[in-house]
Amino acid sequence: MMIEIQGLTKKYGSFTALDNLNLSLDEGVVFGFVGANGAGKSTTFSILATLLSPTSGDAFINGKSVVREPKEVRKQLGYMPDFFGVYDQLKADEYLDFYGASYGISYSERQVLIPQLLELVNLTHKRYEYVDLLSRGMKQRLCLARSLIHDPKVLILDEPASGLDPRARVEMRDILKHLKSMGKTILISSHILPELAEMCDEIGVIDNGKLIAHGNVQTIQEQLQGEKRIIVKVVHQLEKARVFFEENPHISSIEVADEKGEIAFNYRGTTEDQVNLLRKAMLADIPIYSLTEEEKDLEDVFMAITKGADVK
């Protein structure tokens, strides 16, 4: 396990921002952390980055406790906050040089690393520019390069795409793909699920400080969705079909569209249940010629599950 979060709880006074969070991630996994604003993503990441002590619980980065061995954790971890500033009066290469030195990297090593990192984030041409004059997307990429300077095993990126235009987002995503191919374990947060779905191996959904779902993108969708809308088309015998489906315990909210020969219903159950259902329908001689699952947008799912988080 590269990352092991155990019973992590953070209280601000009487307000519980994080509530008994548990999570394990293998090495090399890209983990997407999704939640509405105020759900507790940044709080979690700050604790992992050794900036904040948890009220209770602990987290381990490559076996090192963030509470007891913060200095060891810092060696393994690259962190990019959701909001960050840069020093004015510093040029891009000096910026990287300073942080390299801050990690105890020798001058000669830094001289080799800096051009490589700038190349990685497509900022070679900005090497001698003052950092505060760079665009937001460039600063973001420079900060990413900075978080990589000590070659950490784990990268924690708090909403790296927020405030970026679509083009900058694509650039950011390409860089992340590259980092994934380098075998880094990456934790990346966003309040937009589809943004993460494409590039993440695993997704965790946090709401009001609780992890409400965790798994690969598909599992999450099923877990979050719970029930799905299925539309069945039959050649004839619509009434017989309706009776058949009505008897099934997994099915509710049946609607019949006579003219189209369609029956739509909400389905809640496992994939095996669904196979059995179809098999029984065939045995019962119901002339089904089409069965479709109504596509629910990931975003809709996410909105449905986290509704109320924003209105506080």
Binding site: T50, R74, F98
Partner: protein, 286 residues
């Protein structure tokens, strides 16, 4: 390998400081004030004495006033240099990133302090050519200047530490500035005020006691005067002042010893608080 003595914050701060126009203009302002003063002094003195000569005693007066002026400037500039050391990083949102690097809190705080101290020393050194004028005319020994310089150093390191401590424990630079200047006014002004109150109370007491020659003994009054930078400065310039203080408070222990101990304690105490509080949101502060 981490070199024990390398300090990235210090190197970066120095680089930024010498690059910033603000520092340059600050240095120029400081030198301009000193120059104007010296030239004015020379003109007035040569006019009044009616001769083109500048006597050693005049030279000494100039040295004294120059030293006090320089002290005032240093006391005025030090808080400005240090009271924003950490809070500015917090306001500019660069602090979090800095704290996730493997630098220790001690390294960061010491780096911030030393970079300010180096700049202040540079200022003092830049004023040295003006002093050479004083040495040229005589009346002052270089050893006296060295003593004064050491006194500046102890004082500015202590004030710098106070500034960095406030900068660490307050959220806003402006609050930290006010607190640091407040502490300075206390050390430079309020202590003198307390001293005079103490002395006059003693004199009232001895007055009541009759005419017999009661030797006063007031350690608190002595303490106020011994931590006052102005008093120590005067006692360095005019050693006979020490006797006056002795007769007023009844303690002949040299005030510079108390001053040194007090300001060293302030330095150590403030730096310790700053180091502990830098990672305030972390319980274990390493």
């Amino acid at each position: 390998m981490m070199n024990r003595f390398s300090n990235p914050v210090l190197m970066k701060e120095l680089k930024l400081r010498f690059r910033a126009f603000k520092s340059f203009s600050g240095l120029m302002f400081y030198l301009a004030v000193l120059c104007i003063f010296v030239v004015g002094f020379l003109m007035i003195y040569t006019q009044f004495s009616g001769t083109a000569f500048f006597r050693p005693s005049d030279s000494f007066t100039m040295f004294s006033v120059l030293s006090v002026l320089q002290m005032a400037l240093v006391m005025f500039i030090t808080p400005g240099l240090t009271a924003g050391a950490i809070s500015t990083e917090r306001e500019k949102q660069t602090l979090n990133i800095l704290l996730t690097t493997t630098q220790s809190s001690t390294q960061i705080i010491v780096g911030k302090l030393v970079s300010s101290v180096v700049f202040l020393i540079l200022m003092l050194v830049a004023g040295l050519p003006l002093y050479s004028l004083v040495f040229l005319f005589g009346g002052v020994s270089p050893s006296q200047y060295v003593t004064i310089f050491l006194f500046y150093l102890v004082t500015l390191i202590a004030i710098g530490s106070i500034g960095i401590m406030f900068s660490t424990i307050t959220k806003k630079t402006i609050v930290s500035m006010i607190a640091t200047y407040g502490a300075m006014i206390f050390l430079g002004g309020i202590t003198a005020f307390f001293f005079f109150i103490g002395v006059s109370m003693d004199q009232m007491a001895t007055g009541y006691a009759g005419t017999q020659n009661l030797m006063p003994f007031s350690p608190i009054t002595y303490f106020w005067v011994s931590i006052n930078p102005g008093a120590l400065m005067l006692s360095i310039l005019y050693p006979e002042i020490t006797n006056t203080i002795d007769s007023l408070v009844g303690i002949s222990f040299p005030i510079w010893v108390v001053y040194l101990i007090f300001y060293l304690l302030i330095t150590v105490g403030c730096l310790a608080i700053a180091i502990r509080k830098l990672r305030a949101n972390m319980k274990t502060n390493r």
